[in-house]
Each structure stands twice: as C-alpha cells, then as structure tokens.
Amino acid sequence: MSAPRPPLRLAVALDAPPGSGAPVPYDAQHFVALARRAERGALDFVTLGDSFARPGLDAPAVLARVAPATDHIGLVPTVTTTHTEPFHVSTAVATLDWVSRGRAGWAVAVSTTEADAALFGRRAAAPPAEVWREAGEVADVVARLWDSWEDDAEIRDRAGGRFIDRDKLHHVDFTGSSFAVRGPSIVPRPPQGRPVTLVDVPPAAGPAGVPGAGETTDVSDRAVREVAAAHADVALVRADDPQTAGAARAELRARARALGRDPDLLLVLASLPVELAGPADAAGLAELLGDWHAAGAADGFHLRPADPARDLALLVDGTVPALRDRGLRPPGRPGGTLRDHLGLPRPASRYAPAREGS
C-alpha cells in the first residue's frame, strides 16, 4: 500500500497584484472581510505584501488588526530586512504570533533601490545578492531570538521569589556582516516556538545550467535560493508549468538537504496568479491544482488573485469544495497553529540541549 498523499497546502494573497490599478485599501474592515472569507474556505494562510516603495499600510500591523477578528487562518505579512532592525523584526513577528495564538509567519523581503535607501538615509543601496545575504543573517538571528527563551523559562517560583529561571534565557551573541545582536529577546518564546518563515523565490529559479536573464540576476537569485534553503519553512516558487515548479522544488530540497536540513521541513508552494470569471473556472482551477500536486510539482499553492474580493469568493465556494471532493483538502479546521495547518512540527529551542549538557 502506498503512503497516503500529503494534503495540498493552500494559501492566498490578500493584496491585489502591483499595477492592477485597484485602489489601495487603508481601512481595517477591508482586510478583515478578506481574511474571514479565506478562513471560511479553511485555507492555511493569507499573505499580505509590503514595501517601502509604494502606497499601503504596514503589513504586520494590518494582520495584527486582523488576528482577533479571525480564529484559524495563518497570517503572513511581508517584512523588509534591509534598513530595519533585526531585533524589532523578531519581536514584531513573535508578538503577531502571541496575538494570533500561534498563527503568525513572515515573508522575508529586501530593499535594493536608492529610493528606499533615501527614505532611511542610513546607508547606500546595495546589490540584491548582498542584501539577500544579509536577509539570510536576519532570518537566522530572528529565529535565534525566538529560541532565546526556552519554553518553560517562566516559573513563578513564589517561595524563591523568582519569576523566571534565568538559566533558560540565553544571549544569542550573533555577529553578522553588517550588524550584531546580543539578546536574549524581550518577548517570551512565541506559541509556535518559531513562527513560520517564508521566502518568495524569484521566477528565474530553475535547475542549474538553465540560462538566466544575465549574470547579476543569476547571482542574486542564487542568494535568494540559499536563504530559502537555509531558513525557510515555506518557499514560494513562481512557475508557468508543473515541470518548472517541480524542478525548482527538487533543487530547493536538495540544497536544504546539503545544508543538513530535513527537506520535508521545507514546503515548496507554487505561487500562481489567478483570475476567475465564474464557478466553472473555480472548478477548473481545482483540477489544475490537483494535477500539479499529483505530478509532484509542489507541496501546495499560493494563489495571487487579480481581484482578491471576487476571486476569493469563487475560490472558497468553488475551488476548495472541489479539492475536498478529491480528498486533497481536509473537511474542516479543528483549530491549532499555522504549523499545525501546514503539518510542520513545533521546533524545540536550539538552546535547550546545551543547558542539559552543561
């Protein structure tokens, strides 16, 4: 008997694609309504893009506002690592995990333009490969800060008068190429241990040897893939066909394995633009997703609707039931964390074993 096919993970972007001409929303209710709709379809998570270069609210703040208005859906904002403080990134995402009771993730992003650099005025713009290497260091230290409190550090020892067992808090003493962080975090370990880290791998990613759009792009794309292989729980790959997606997935898994990671702990989702005209389109999409999934192209899908309000309704009412009929999506959502939805285990703090050994 063959092993049961793992479920098809399903996520959706709440933001309209750049250049779509849709008005930029600034009111909380717009985002709450979309997230609730995604939750009604028992999707695993929603993403919300962000950038310092175009109009829009701070994405982690928007999804923190959404958190108490939803119960199950995972919440994954984009967070920029280039001009920001790694310590603040870590505490903001950890706090999103606390306010959502374990439903947070973050999508690692960088700033490469002079225009972005001028908004901060702290340093000049750097090439993509360089800022992605730094983003990898940020992802590393952010996860270390999440681990810097062991899960049972709060003891409330009334007799001894001690609130924490300070042997279970750890300096991280991280030194990167452009910053250093002493630690420990100010925020106790979040409910998921480590909120889910997502990396959006650019479309040029493909098997080695495939000519890219030029050497610079190749170098920077390689840097993104290295960050995904080393630090991501979820990688998004943009591909037009299942063969390309499958090759990108195989390559990322191989890199993760080469770095000593269990490749099954790196989920690769194909990120697809969708534009649905009606219920038949929604059912057709379910068929396409099912076929890609069966072909081993991806562990699931991240859908980027042309019109989030319209397309999300069709996804929830048409695509999701069709996927359930094929046994690819669970019938409901019993609750739990984003890691639970994705089938990813809750990691132990890396600092816990060191204490036992000492």
Partner: protein, 446 residues
C-alpha cells in the same frame, strides 16, 4: 444649569484617565494568586476593555529593548518579558472602539520613516486612536541589540528625539488633502531623508505625542512638541510647581496651556474603609518587596554584592561604592551615599530591618482609601492644577483596573469631573486637543 438669579459656577476641570499595562518592575505583583499571564493577548484585551468600559482616554504600553541585568545575570525577581507594543495595539484596535492606544517607542533605536509609517498605520487601523510615547535610551548596554549600537549623551538624545518627532510630522503632513502623496525632504543634524511616504494622512492628522520624563530637557521638549506629558507623581505642592513650570513654557512655542496635558503615573489601593485600604496597601507593599527584592534594592544603592546580609537584619555599616556597576538597563542613582545615609538614619530611628526600610522608603501607593476618598483626592489634585489627569498603574494583571472602574469612575462622574460617554471617536477628541495644522510638506514644523 443657567439661572437668572444665581451666577453660573465655573465649569470644573475634566479629568483625563489612562491605564498602564502592569510593568516589569516590582510595582507589579506576580506572586498574587490573582495574577494572570503577562504575555497572553487575553490579558491585554481584558485590561483594554476594562479601560474602555471606564471611558478612559487611552491605554498605555511601555517598551522593552533589553532585559535588565543585575550582577551580570538577567534580573529574575520581577515580571520578565513583554510583547512589542505597536503589534499588540494594532490587535487591540480590533477589540476596542474608542479607547486611545499609546505605544512607547524609542527615538534612539528607530528611524523616522519606518516608525512614522507604523504609527500612521495604527492610526488608520484604529480609526484615529494612536499615540506615541517618545522615549530616549541612554545606554550602550541596550545598544548591543541594535545596528545603531553605541551611546548618545543626554543632550544629543533629546535633540535627536525632537528632530525625530519633527521629521515624523513632516511625513504625516506629506499627502495632500485630496489623497495624493507629495515628495518630502528633510535634512537636519540627525536625519537626512527624502522620498514619498506610503500612508495617507491619518484620521488624527498626527497621532498624539506623549513625552515621559521630568528633566529640564524633557520638559522643554514636551513644551515644544508633545500633547501629553507622562510625569512622576509627587505631592500636590510639587505637582503644582511642575505643572506651572511646564505650562509656563508653552507660550514660547505659540501654544496654549490646554494644548499639553499633564498626567502623572499613579497607583491606587481601595478598601471599604480607610483602615481596610491602609491594611491592604501594606499587604501589597510586603508582596512588592520580597526578601530578595529588599537585598536587590539595597545592592542597587550600595553597588556591591550584599547577598550575605539578612533581609530581616540591620542595614550594612559599609558605605556604597560610588563606582559600583551591578545593575544594567536601569536608571542610575545619582548620589548613593546620601540615599544610604538616609536609609540608615530611618532604620535606626524606627528600628527597621533591611526589608522594612525598603518597604518604608520606596514606592508607596499614590492614592489609598475608600473609593470616595480616592475620587475626592484625585479631583482635588486636578482642580488645584497639580495635574490634568492620571495614568493609572494597577499592581495586578489582568484584573487590577476593575475595582477602580467599578467603584471610582462612577464617583468621578457624579462629581461632574469625568465623562459619562465618549463624545468623539479619536484620542485627540478625548483629550480635547486641537486638530494639528498641516505644514507645507517640505519644511519643518513652524
């Protein structure tokens, strides 16, 4: 009501109230059986909803950027750890409707563009309820967690903070009234930034700015730039002197006395009788100053290891080490020898142990009594211009504010000195602050 025969009494000053989430110092009693989680969102939601039930102006969160250390180890006697303020407040915007939401955020370890954007986002997401408590951070110890690192001396800290606030306001003003972004450019001593802001002007125009700190630099900064000053609570006389001093500085900046609200941080203990309240207050003080706390408080003054001393015994005969560096991440005590002499004198005069001395000399509650007493004391404090209101610091999470809202707020309302409903939707409207004028976009604040 107006009457033709009797003159209208002058309207009584209205009290402004805010609630401070219990902090990471020993004001907060975590060992009480009623003490709940200091990190779960439900605790923040309970306190915020209680404050909103009590029609408070705003809910206040402090900031942590480095865990405190004592004798080279992480301080473990008080609550340790807290969430990141702006993220919690964005979530609280979902479970409250009118309550102002104030985040403490350092002007030292942030940059204007990013923070102005986060604050404007909170103001949009909450429908005009955002506030920013501007603080500066003094020590290289905290800097070890940040790219910026390093150390700014006191004067530079305030000039950076002032320029930070001015720059943030330029960004908040940068969109046109009809919703188009305009380029901004700021070049100053601390910041040189230009570009376009990604967020339209928010419901309050500018989120409310709070300044915490009583130093002359802090007072001047507040007079020039803040809407609220969060000050230390002292007696009525000292409060009136502070109030007159700060309000007196406003005219220099073209501001009126009502444009800056003075709100000391205060604690309270209620009882059915005055005696019961006093007894309860003493019991809380004993919980706040455990034997371990008593020795720690002593070590912070003496600057040397005193762990061999008995907290129930007499104070040390040795003098403090003026160069002692036991505590990191705390405000330094200016004259340790003077404090030690005062404590020893008190201990001798009253026959107090180390622990009893610390209980006697530190952190006595601001208002103790029946609900009637406390309402009367607070009202008198405000009517005599020792304050415009209070930031209440409960000693218990999450239920510590409930007795005040249930018992004192109705009495303040009966006295006609506290609102019986919210009249506006924004924090500015609760505080009676003017709509901020829009500046030219490229220039500084006039």
């Amino acid at each position: 009501m107006m009457s033709p025969t009797s003159p209208t009494p002058p309207p009584r000053k209205q009290i402004h109230l805010a609630a401070h989430f219990p902090g990471v110092n020993n004001t907060t009693v975590w060992a009480d059986p009623g003490s709940g989680s200091h990190i779960a969102f439900s605790s923040f939601a309970h306190l915020a909803r209680t404050a909103e039930r009590g029609l408070f102006d705003f809910f206040f969160l402090a900031e942590g950027l480095r865990l405190r250390e004592h004798k080279g180890r992480i301080h473990d006697l008080d609550v340790v750890g807290r969430p990141e303020s702006l993220t919690v407040l964005s979530a609280l915007a979902a479970v409250t409707e009118r309550l102002g939401l104030a985040a403490t955020v350092s002007a030292t370890f942030n940059e204007p563009y990013e923070l102005a954007r986060r604050l404007a986002s909170l103001d949009h997401l909450s429908g005009g309820r955002a506030a920013w408590n501007v603080v500066t951070t003094s020590d290289a110890f905290t800097g070890e967690n940040f790219r910026r690192g390093g150390y700014l001396d006191r004067a530079d800290r305030y000039t950076r903070a002032a320029e930070f606030v001015a720059t943030a306001r330029e960004l908040w003003d940068s969109w046109t009234a009809d919703g188009q972004p305009r380029p901004f450019a700021h070049r100053g001593e601390h910041f040189a930034v230009h570009g376009e802001f990604t967020v339209p002007r928010s419901p309050q125009g500018h989120p409310v700015v709070i300044q915490a700190g009583d130093s002359p630099e802090g007072r001047e900064f507040a007079a020039s730039a803040a809407d609220v000053i969060f000050t230390r609570h002292s007696g009525a006389e000292a409060g009136r002197a502070f109030y007159a001093d700060v309000k007196g500085r406003l005219a220099r900046y073209g501001r009126r006395p009502g444009d800056l609200k003075i709100m000391p941080g205060v604690t309270f203990v209620l009882g059915d009788t005055a005696a019961e309240a006093q007894e309860h207050a003493a019991e809380i003080r004993r919980r706040q100053v455990s034997p371990q706390h008593a020795l720690l408080a002593l070590e912070q003054v003496w600057g040397v290891d005193l762990s061999a001393y008995d907290p129930d015994g007499p104070l040390p005969d040795i003098d403090p080490d003026p160069h002692g560096e036991l505590a990191q991440g705390r405000v330094r005590i200016a004259d340790p020898k003077a404090v030690a002499d005062k404590w020893r004198a008190l201990s001798r005069a009253k026959g107090l142990s180390i622990r009893e001395t610390v209980i006697e000399t530190t952190g006595r509650q601001s208002f103790i009594g029946t609900a009637q007493d406390v309402a009367a004391q607070m009202d008198a404090f405000v009517q005599t211009d020792a304050a415009d209101g209070f930031i209440l610091v409960p000693h218990l999470t999450p239920g510590g504010l409930d007795p005040f809202v249930d018992r004192v707020v109705p009495l303040l309302q009966e006295r006609g000195v506290f609102r019986t409903e919210y009249s506006g939707a924004t924090l500015r409207s609760h505080l009676g602050l003017p709509e901020p004028a829009r500046t030219g976009g490229k220039g500084g604040r006039p």
